[in-house]
């Protein structure tokens, strides 16, 4: 004859027993992962020696405050301005044709080289020289590029307004 039982007798552990059980489980974990744990301890030692841990600890404890400060800082107008500028510039660069850009940058570098050489030679340029140089196909190409560059930029400026 089985009387109904309405209560479950669950073992109650003292705090020491619970600690003991947890330590036992941890001991097993340690034994199974000895190499990895040694490495972790080495790294932790290094970090401690150079003071990183202390700084990280302080920063973690102040995490909410720091986050708020950072937020306040980045929300200021100059910073949002900067962000917008950077993002705008990045966007523009992202939109450019990479092949053309490469060509342009290479050309500019070549121009800088030739220019520097000229400056070192300490020569003067006269109007006649200028007219004559227009016939030089390299210079003609560069000036043609410049004029059309100005035309394109002027047009974009008009549209942006």
């Amino acid at each position: 004859m089985a009387e109904p039982i309405t209560h479950i007798q669950r073992p109650t552990f003292t705090d020491e027993q619970i600690t003991e059980q947890k330590l036992e489980a941890l001991k097993k974990q340690f034994a199974n992962n000895e190499d990895a744990l040694n490495k972790v301890l080495d790294i932790v030692g290094e970090l401690h020696d150079i003071g990183v841990l202390e700084a990280a600890d302080a920063a973690l404890q102040a995490k909410e405050k720091i986050a708020k400060i950072v937020l306040e800082q980045v929300s200021r107008e100059p910073v949002t301005n900067l962000l917008n500028t950077v993002m705008g510039a990045t966007g523009a660069v992202m939109a450019a044709d990479p092949e053309q850009m490469t060509k342009l940058i290479k050309s500019t570098m070549a121009g800088v080289d030739a220019g520097s050489q000229f400056v070192q030679e300490d020569q003067k340029i006269r109007v006649r020289d200028l007219m004559k140089t227009l016939k030089d196909p390299d210079i003609n190409r560069a000036i043609g590029f410049g004029i059309h560059f100005l035309k394109g930029m002027g047009k974009e400026l008009k549209e942006s307004n």
Binding site: E3, Q9, T80
Partner: protein
Amino acid sequence: MNDSTFHIKINDVEYEAHAGEKIIEVINQNNIPHPQICYLPSVDPIQTCDTCIVEADGELVRSCSTLVKAGMDIKLDSVQAKASQTEAMDRLLANHSLYCTVCDNNNGNCKLHNTAELMNIEHQKYPYTPKVDSSEVDMSHPFYRYDPNQCIACGQCVEVCQSLQVNETLSIDWEADRPRVIWDDGVPINESSCVSCGQCVTVCPCNALMEKSMLGNAGFMTGLKPDMLEPMIDLVKEVEPGYSGIFAVSEVEAAMRETRTKKTKTVCTFCGVGCTFEVWTKGREILKIQPSDGPVNAVSTCVKGKFGWDFVNSEERLTKPLIRKNGQFVESSWEEALTLVAQRLGEIKSQYGKDSVGLISSSKITNEENYLIQKLARQVFETNNVDNCSRYCQSPATDGLMRTVGMGGDAGTIKDIAQAGLVIIVGANPAEGHPVLATRVKRAHKLHGQKLIVSDVRKNEMAERSDLFIRPKQGTDQVWLMAVTRYMIQQGWHDQGFIDENVKFFSEYKDILEKYTLEYAENITGISKETLIAIAEMIRDADGTCILWGMGVTQNNGGSDTSAAISNLLLATGNYRRPGAGAYPLRGHNNVQGACDMGTLPGWLPGYQHVEDDEARAKFEAAYGVPIDNKPGLDNINMLQSISEGKMKAMYLVGEDMALVDADSNHVDKVLSELDFFVVQDIFFSRTAQYADVILPAAPSLEKDGTFTNTERRVQRLYQALPNLGDSKPDWWIVQEIAKRLGADWGYQHPSEIFAEMASLSPIFAKANYETLEGWNSFLWGSHDGESTPLLYEDGFNFPDKKARFALSDWVEPYSFAEEFDLHINNGRMLEHFHEGNLTNKSKGIQAKVPEIFVEVSPELAEERGLEDGALVRLISPFGAVKLNALVTDRVQKNELFLPMNSVNKESAINFLTGPIYDSRTNTPAYKQTKVRMEVLSNKGKTPLPKTNPRDKKRHPQNGVEVERKWHRSDYIHLTTK
């Protein structure tokens, strides 16, 4: 290619299309990316968002509502089409603040986010401004919140509430300055008629409607406090990158969430409809339930399936085996418990013989687990003494079908029910017991002209919505069913051709029907002749009749015969072997069907092969290596008798609270305490477990793999979403370990192997396996060649001669009680709770909606006895008594009481009133035939149903979202040209 198939051009490429398809369907079938914020395939076109506009033959039209035509030339990204789509999206975004990275809905499936990205939207044309003060965010409901300031007023929530769930609570206030969603006439959500089905939340394309379990929980940065979160949102806006920048960052965050949020497909366990969905978990925490592609439910759920899973993490879960020692239950190791179980059961079997052990299986556990329990019974204990809880509900329905059409399952699927011209519901309350199935009837009735007849003693929601509601005297359904059949035959409205071709014993059946005249029926049932004729006419006029029935039929002493009478009526009128017709017993638990299919029945081996069938038995004998008894074993009721007689000494019971769910609980208590050895396997410390010698902690559905079979005979896979809690284990593991200790080493590594073994022995499952059932796929048994068979009997009925049989039975008069028991007490489910409630009562939200049990009393009886809401009454039957508060409602009439079954308390549980009255053919208790007398202990008190319960709230039906009202606004500028 026939007339209905033709070609159309989309962006100059030819595609095949079919007449009747919408443009968007062809776009989506071919996986062409195209915006479609408010498009929801489960409902009719909503047409509020305008983002799906295309140019078709030169006109701008909504692709969601425009039918394809042969040769149509469609441009998705012509200049005009693009401009319309972009303008539409800009209008939506003016209502929505984009803070994706810190939004709980940023999980890769935010439709608004994904569409804005797809359309390369870079900037907000119309600046976002909030609609209302942030204090108007509605947090009142226990399970979900509505934030009008994030709502784009696309109306998908409204459409599903009005036209799919058909609860008719939500609408959009189109005439308001800034349209938003309102509940009823603008009350807080928790005070509205909302039944918490959660479909609005599921379909919301953004974060306006969110599960509260997701809030502050789903993302890495969404748990921030407001003083941190708001400056962060401001920063994002101040910086104003193009949206693509925001999207990029939020996608990185969403990808991080993917690694942490686990999404697992599972099958719902709260009724037999078989809804499937993904459960989102974070560790052991359930973030939400997300239905989408389930073959039965699509986006639909009910309150339990969507929100009722708290029990899985309940502190009351059993997590260690328990052994009775010195009048206490003491925790033990698995080894100790299993060894003790095997040793004692083995001893009892060898000492007292094969019939001294009985096994009771469960309709909540998987097919694989049921298969193993019958295998344990037949192979290890060498007995057919194995049964499941379908004995308490569904056996009469199965019996009625087996006798007439040959297979104990629904004739078709939920789609046939939706398609029928007429649905008759007899003794069932699917709006509460099978909520998602009921929605398909409500939708067909509201939108597609389906007719609905309800026969019930109690006025439930389906009765309120029906075209014809009859309240026959309790236990007399068979009489009106037979009278209607007789009348139809007499009028020549039956289907003689169908009968000639398909059914035997017609003339014998006509003889039986002879006495069931309209006058006789009117006299017995109280239904007027005119009403009976009206029913006959509705069946005559319908293009397909489906009859749905439940416990109001089966839990009677004539339950089996009434079920057969339903099938007879369908046979006589040709309502089998065609879509949109047939017999649909509504299985109550998630796996009632499967438990029976797997042979946890005293007379049936797996796959409906009878133990008397020598060939079938030989096959199992060869597989199991033991002889199998050719006589059916004991059913649940017989087992209790056998215990009383001192023959059965031990019982192994899995997942069944027999001491609460069997009739005449006082008697069951006594019998269980007489067992020599009693093993109970459960996830909770149930009332039955109190009598156990050993309690084994099992794992619920979310913690294991397996399959369930729903009321449609549809087998669906569930996948393990969570690890086992504590030391609890899946039932299949436990059963296998017991078998092993009794000398049968089965060696299954995974449930798929169990399923494969079952299928190899059961022809109707021959072509089903875990691969064919992968993901959302499913399999419907029903053919001897093992093919999936959504519609039964297309090749003839399940008898050797392919012919059905009219069952030849008179009706059985209900049990009669002494005159002092003057009130009939009915019982049944409430929407919010499952069965006796030991799962759903762990949910705080559900408990807030239905905190306590009560008995419904009719206004006329209340007046006669001088009692009001909250009165304390004692109800006394010949078998026991309960004491609880009264709720006065006109859902019941006259001397009818209704006691919901969600009680685990002896003070209020229905089965302390029910008695040992049984269906004559199946032994199913006649729970519905119970009478009591009532003592009023105090005549008023606090009403037991809180104000926040949706019952008795006025619904606000309208024709879906009513987009025309949006179009009529003076500030609405059309983006279409036609």
